[in-house]
Symmetry: C2
């Protein structure tokens, strides 16, 4: 399959959206940007569908490699405030791929047992196997986000976690897991609109949680915690990408494009035959 | 959403493909049939795509119900000889749905630990949670299929398993799991063609296993074992469906249609608000 650019700009979105090393100021990132994309909302939806064939092809190659002794996998980490669209990216982006090659885990508040085992234990349990694309809807980053903002653990505990995460992610990279960390960045106003939409639509009540409003009070503290996470855990083994997410269509296209570019970089080849092709043909003919 | 018929025949495919109680003779089932469908292969592919919107809508309703205290789920069990298309059904049928609401498990030969725990242990581990659609690519039926044909256990052991399976499936039904068991029925000639196709296409070598040819020798014994399973484990709690599967497009359409009809029967409603909608709107407005 031709490795054409996903968009017409000639640049890789991985380069355009990657968070540079150094201090991070989220207010400098435009949540309505459409970096790397030229066209309308309708174009964006169409372009996303068009990525389906190529991203599925790469996914199957990676899966095949994993079946034949390969150890590589991809882990897409989705983080963002409530309503930022982690579920939407999975539905519309990951939904383009074969569900057999996906391992999706949605992390809620840890149970007492999980807490006793250390914050990375349940994360390790959910890692993708060889050839798989793992997707985390929330992740170990919650342990330096809500845990920090809502004082779920003492400051020395969450403070130590940045290093622990960096060690963990370096280990992942060494063991063949390519980590793609996406922060879905929305504005506080956009979140308000989306919560209003949930309250206006009875088919969306189930997604609404009164606690979401309480969390809004802590918006500045979350921004600070996200900045710290993006700054402290942004090594070459697992860099962060900020996805402008006020426009849902752009967000879905952008994350899927990053995943596509990541798969192209891995460039998995179809496994060669580990049997005698002509001999098997002859044997089959006699059956 | 309108509960229109998936096809124009006016009959439910669930009724048309259900295996009647009593002795089962698989040779009486035409593997090339297109029961309940009128139209060409191209029509079939198009009709399958058209099921996507409705099946996704039902899936989301079921998922929402599960999030709000509901306990119901669906379990699609896929069985069939090698190349019958269990993976194809998941890719093209289940692939129409939101991967977040799917739990897919592919069962290989059991490990030593799994064997020690009894054949249903690993099956129970893989059951779908509330609101989920579970999919088994092979299942506990392997324990009365390959186990019987290849003498992996003594006859009294596999013989006892039919009752154990019936007890297990009755328990599932009582706990809210709707089980949909599909046997993807292909002819020995069709399998030969598909194995030839794998040997002719380097992008399919990874799917080929020389052992597949060895298994072909046991085709009549497998047919007998399938007949026994379909006959002995066909209670009202978990009936069997035989899917004519020589035509891939029909197979994909048929299984997806059965799943759609099953979801319609469950008829999950959007959960009502468990909070004060107007109060929350007012509270949100002040943030």
């Amino acid at each position: 399959m031709a490795k054409k650019k996903a968009d017409g700009t000639g640049d890789r979105l991985l380069d355009a959206l990657r968070v540079p090393a150094g201090p991070v100021d989220l207010s400098a990132y435009d949540t309505r940007a459409t970096t790397g994309f030229e066209g309308t909302k309708d174009d964006g939806k169409l372009k996303l569908e068009e990525l389906g064939a190529e991203v599925s092809d790469w996914q199957e190659r990676l899966f095949a490699e994993g079946r034949k002794g390969g150890t590589r996998s991809v882990l897409l980490v989705l983080q963002g405030m409530d309503t930022s669209g982690k579920g939407g990216v999975i539905r519309h982006g990951a939904g383009l791929m074969d569900p057999q090659g996906l391992r999706i885990t949605s992390f809620k508040a840890p149970t007492a047992t999980e807490k006793r085992r250390g914050f990375l234990w349940r994360i390790r349990q959910a890692l993708p196997g060889p050839g798989m694309i793992g997707i985390f809807d929330r992740s170990h980053y919650e342990d330096v986000l809500i845990a920090r903002v809502r004082n779920l653990v003492a400051p020395p505990v969450w403070n130590r976690r940045y290093d622990q995460i960096n060690e963990f992610e370096a280990e992942l990279a060494e063991s063949g897991v390519t980590v793609l960390k996406c922060f879905l960045h929305i504005s506080a106003d956009q979140q308000k609109e989306r919560l209003e939409a949930r309250l206006d639509d009875p088919t969306k009540y189930w997604k609404y949680n009164p606690g979401d409003i309480d969390e809004r009070e802590f918006w500045p503290a979350y921004a600070e915690a996200y900045q710290a996470a993006l700054e402290n855990c942004n090594g070459p083994a697992a860099p962060w990408y900020v996805i402008p997410s006020d426009r849902k269509w752009y967000r879905n296209w952008a994350v899927t494009t990053l995943l596509l570019e990541t798969l192209r970089d891995l460039n998995p080849e179809w496994p060669t035959a580990d049997f005698d092709v002509e001999g098997e043909k002859a044997r089959l003919a006699t059956t």
